[in-house]
Assembly symmetry: C2
Homo-oligomer: 206 residues x 2
DNA sequence: GCCGCGGCTGGAACGTGTTTCCGAGAGCTG
DNA sequence: CAGCTCTCGGAAACACGTTCCAGCCGCGGC
């Protein structure tokens, strides 16, 4: 089923504590506030131990991103977007994600920065992240009930579904980077996403 | 001419030399190779002078991105994509951009990393960058000749053109970040862009 | 000519990500 | 128990982005 690299419960207690500490610090002060010396100290481990588990600060934060994505998936399965058509559901999905990010903007920006760092060592983890997001988008396109959502074992998305999900995922990611950099506000972010989702989902000449 | 202080245009000259040095170092060794001490030394200025002109390493590299974008625009106007329809021209446009980036991958990754850093201080410069890219995309959608391209003073894009350009720009940017991080090869990058451009440009049910 | 105002230079200094080293304890083996 | 290995904690060391400072130099104003 759902599983990230080696994230969830299989993750060592020690590593989990480290990631949780990083999340706490990122919530408070963003990327810069995640000082690895502090993370190690608060997590009760030595700096060397932290580096044995995570290759870099970005690696640590991408692990945190995976953890947060897992939480998002849980909430998604409990309350999948319920609009009457594709566009409505998609807009609702992104509105929910944005709302969750608004609550912890510092964390969101920190994770985004790590995700956009372009570190080749993170490619596998980032690929996994994108897969999870796109799977949720495909589910949203189809419109799933709370019961059926949990059992979806990915019966294979149609080519159109895959392309649409990929397009929406990329647009969303790029918009988030822009939001993080102050290019546009949260409201503008959602407006643009709605407009562009309408374009991508259009099946007629729009 | 312009006078920012005592020295007339020597300031411009200084800043230009700094940016050019940064580009050279980035070509050779990417983001990490752009050590500001080296940039300052090779440009023949003191570190403090560099910091008087540029707020940070990212700021400097975004200035380099602006310079490279101007070069791209020049080449674009000389040889605009000439396909028979929107999709052909768009695919050709991105293929040309990708080819230019392939020639200087290290530089491309370095500029991308700066562009995706999410630094709020760069928002104005990043907004300008996106405007330039989207203007070129709109021109490509319309199909311009080499002669008419130079005179286009942006006669106002239609709502559809703006949305399409925005969507393609975001998809391209996100794909680039993925490429930079080793998520996919240059070939895959272009395949995906072609596929997703087809989706965005589709005027029927595809 | 002399003064004051910047900007420039060379270099020190600071913070933080990252690496490295060493000694202590824990668990295993004989 | 003696020895070996592995990991961890503690802490120093290193690199580089960034800041700060002291002194110099050129220029406009007196």
């Amino acid at each position: 089923m759902f599983q990230y690299g080696a994230m969830p419960d299989q993750m060592e207690e020690r590593a989990r504590r480290i990631v949780e500490t990083a999340v706490e610090l990122a919530e408070e002060g963003g990327f810069e506030a995640v000082r690895l010396r502090d993370v190690a100290a608060h997590a009760g481990v030595a700096l060397g131990t932290l580096y044995r588990r995570f290759d870099s600060k970005e690696d640590l934060l991408v692990a945190a991103l995976a953890m947060e994505t897992r939480n998002l998936e849980r909430r998604f399965i409990l309350h999948p977007p319920q609009g009457d058509n594709e566009l409505q559901r998609i807009v609702e999905y992104f509105a929910l994600v944005a709302k969750a990010m608004l609550r912890r903007q510092n964390l969101a920006r920190a994770l985004l920065k790590a995700a956009a760092s372009g570190d080749p060592g993170l490619s596998k983890k980032m690929a996994a992240y994108h897969e999870h997001i796109e799977r949720m988008i495909v589910m949203t396109l189809r419109g799933v009930s709370s019961e059926s959502a949990g059992q979806l074992v990915d019966p294979g998305a149609t080519p159109r579904e895959m392309r649409v999900a990929e397009a929406l995922n990329h647009i969303w990611f790029s918009l988030l980077v822009g939001w993080s950099g102050g290019l546009h506000s949260q409201a503008t972010l959602l407006e643009k996403m709605e407009s562009l989702a309408g374009l991508v989902l259009a099946r007629d000449g729009s």
